[in-house]
């Protein structure tokens, strides 16, 4: 085991550049896939709109036609929200896995999305805040609070934040928040009605205002996250080694956890709590490009919107008359992946 490990790291120095070239091409391919997925997401829907009409709707819009309105006001923003949320969740998950050195870290499993969700619901219910530009800050606050509590509870004890403890603390926080949120909402039928749609995580009904409010945070957050590769590589070596390499570990951790809270909070504000994307994507990325976070991060950034939009398209195709939420599709598809990861023999290897 150690022998092969040494050999693989030893030999990886020489063909690094060729390998890097291959990986860059891989990124371009993924970019193409993502573009294709966006195209599919815009073209597919219950209302059959021809390609020519879609092109016209995008280039020279005619506001009197319903087809044009459907494309411009419904499908395009929905696709962009999926793109943004995917970006945020994928990068958030990758950052978390790097930060906690834990293969099962995920903004959903760790209860961070649930924290954001419940704070947003409380903001709407108790303080009557309706516009997203204010409630998104509650999302950030909730995500940050949940991150703090979950990571804090999980890192107690000698062996630190093990996968089991992180997942349990996340589940506990989620359960507590969910029951409190439901309790607050219980007496108000309208709010209860809103909550049940919001709780599953969906891209439906997300229009331009959602894009406008969340995009700045997600775009800036993602750009910063993409630059964190070197820092995560340092943390992956262990705190002592990172310090020896000249990293300010505590500062790096705080900044990156804050970044996770911003990304997860914004994604949750955009489309509700969604699990498993942030968990699975970094593993797929690592399988393609190895453990170097300078590559894992961009790969996650592209893979994650592909998966989210793909799941949304799948949901729209399979739903028939009713609405199947993307959060449900990801829950059903993600759980087997999670269990497969758990059953792998060498779980704690990050």
């Amino acid at each position: 085991m150690t022998l092969t490990h040494v050999r693989s790291t030893g030999s990886s120095t020489a063909p690094e550049h060729r390998h890097g070239g291959g990986l860059a091409v891989g990124l371009l391919v993924l970019l193409g896939v993502l573009a294709l997925m966006c195209f599919v997401s815009v073209t597919l829907g219950t209302r059959d709109v021809g390609l020519g009409t879609i092109w016209k709707a995008l280039v020279e819009p005619d506001p009197t036609r319903t087809d044009v309105t459907v494309i411009r006001e419904l499908r395009v923003p929905r696709t962009i929200v999926g793109l943004l949320a995917g970006l945020a969740l994928g990068l958030g998950g990758t950052l978390l896995q790097g930060l906690t050195r834990n293969p099962l870290a995920d903004p959903g499993i760790m209860g961070i999305n649930a924290g954001a969700a419940s704070f947003i619901v409380v903001a709407i219910m108790l303080f009557g805040i309706q516009d997203l530009s204010t409630s998104i800050w509650f999302g950030f606050l909730g995500a940050a609070a949940a991150t703090f509590v979950v990571y804090g509870v999980a890192s107690m004890g000698r062996e630190g934040a093990t996968p089991v403890k992180l997942a349990l603390a996340g589940a506990a926080v989620t359960a507590g928040l969910t029951s409190v949120t439901t309790g607050i909402v219980m007496s108000n039928v309208d709010a209860l009605n809103q909550l049940r749609f919001w709780q599953v995580g969906s891209l439906a009904g997300r229009y331009w205002p959602v894009v406008e409010q969340t995009a700045p945070f997600i775009v800036v957050g993602s750009l910063v996250a993409l630059l964190a590769g070197r820092a995560l590589n340092g943390l992956a070596l262990g705190d002592d080694m990172a310090v020896a390499l000249g990293q300010r570990v505590r500062l790096t951790r705080t900044v990156l956890f804050g970044l996770v809270a911003v990304l997860a909070g914004a994604a949750t504000a955009a489309c509700g709590p969604i699990v498993f994307v942030g968990l699975v994507v970094p593993h797929v990325a690592r399988a393609i490009c190895g453990p170097d976070y300078r590559w894992v991060l961009p790969y996650s950034a592209l893979l994650s919107p592909i998966i989210l939009l793909g799941a949304d398209v799948l949901a729209r195709i399979s739903a028939g008359d009713g609405e199947l939420q993307v959060g449900v599709v990801l829950g059903v598809l993600g759980a087997p992946a999670f269990i497969a990861l758990v059953r792998r023999r060498n779980l704690a290897e990050l």
């Binding site: 509590v149 589940a171 507590g176 009605n193 709780q199 959060g327």
Partner: protein, 351 residues
């Protein structure tokens, strides 16, 4: 020489008396918890728009008197909810601690490892898809919890079941079931969704008589059985190898205890819905109260009962608007986690 000979017996005597003292401490604390639980049980039946005295409650509950109006209020209106709270609390307290010991993790609790989620999905499906009576909903919850546990056990199996794999597989299954439950809630019409969401919060107020009777009977059988099996539980805690060496059939015993705990949780959830956090918190509180020496199962049961009874009183009488019990037990959870964060971190131990 004489002094050398005398020294060991003396220290032996002190250890012996120390052990006896600790055992007495455990017995006293457990007894006190039992008394508190019973007092709350009686108090629950006294409070309300029609106040009843202690003696009237006790006399009416144990059929020592016959005052029709008191009997109606106590036996028909308040006794069902009070005994539900008591029984559900006992069941959740015991099974929570059994889970934590078997899975070797103080944060492990049937609420989070997919068992309550299985019960919830089954109950919500029966409310929304089948539109059936409360008794059927309870039955569905029971079956759902049992099926989910079996599924988790099988998926976690790999040359035996380790605590950490059971927990993680359980959390994965739980997420799956929760997202399906969310889907059902989102597609239901608002009244059914509201009924289902009320069930999901958990409340001791709306338990039916047959479910409660079943829980009480099962509790009467399984609680003593768990206390008898407690010795094996302590051995299992030493680790599989040590347990083998001490002659315990590890996998069988683990399955048996896990089965008992699952049945208790499943019945409790079937009766009162998934009351969050009781099973998680009761064990650690009991262990903290009696110290590390006793097993704490009975104490955990009493702590669970005290929690649910208190939560019921708070939910129904102290809040401005009566709320389901689960809201209160859920609200206890967040401060508990923060308290855990503060104290255990400082002591430098914890799991």
């Amino acid at each position: 020489m004489a002094i050398d000979l005398q020294a060991p017996p003396e220290s032996l005597a002190t250890t012996r008396s120390g052990r006896r003292g600790r055992r007495r401490h455990v017995a006293v604390v457990t007894g006190l918890l039992g008394v508190v639980a019973f007092a709350l049980f009686v108090a629950t039946m006294m409070i309300g728009s029609f106040p009843v005295t202690v003696w009237e409650v006790v006399a009416s509950t144990f059929r020592l008197s016959s005052d029709p109006s008191v009997d109606f209020v106590v036996r028909d209106l308040r006794l069902p909810a009070a005994s539900t709270a008591l029984a559900v609390g006992l069941a959740l307290g015991v099974s929570g601690l059994v889970f934590q010991k078997i899975l070797a993790n103080p944060l492990a609790s049937p609420d989070f490892v997919g068992i309550s989620a299985g019960a919830s999905l089954a109950a919500v499906s029966s409310i929304i898809l089948l539109n059936v009576s409360a008794l059927f909903v309870s039955g569905a919850a029971l079956v759902g919890a049992l099926v989910a546990s079996l599924l988790i056990y099988l998926l976690a199996w790999r040359d035996g079941v380790t605590g950490y794999r059971f927990i993680l597989v359980g959390i994965g299954i739980s997420e799956l079931l929760v997202s399906l439950t969310g889907y059902l809630l989102a597609r239901a019409d608002i009244f059914e969704a509201r009924e289902a969401m009320t069930w999901l919060v958990g409340s001791v107020g709306n338990a039916g008589a047959p479910q409660l009777r079943l829980l009480l009977v099962v509790l009467a059988v399984l609680l003593p059985l768990t206390l008898v099996l407690n010795r094996h539980l302590d051995v299992l805690e030493l680790g599989d190898d040590a347990a083998h060496a001490l002659g315990v059939r590890v996998e069988t015993m683990r399955l048996l205890l896990l089965g008992i705990a699952v049945v208790l949780v499943a019945l409790a959830v079937a009766v009162a819905g998934p009351l969050p956090f009781v099973a998680l918190i009761a064990g650690p509180i009991a262990v903290r109260l009696i110290g590390a020496n006793g097993s704490g199962l009975l104490a955990a049961a009493f702590v669970g009962a005290v929690m649910v009874l208190l939560a019921d009183i708070v939910a129904n009488h102290l809040l401005p608007v009566p709320l389901p019990t689960g809201v209160v037990t859920g609200a206890i959870g967040a401060p508990y986690l923060i308290w855990l964060l503060a104290t255990v971190n400082r002591e430098g131990r914890g799991g």
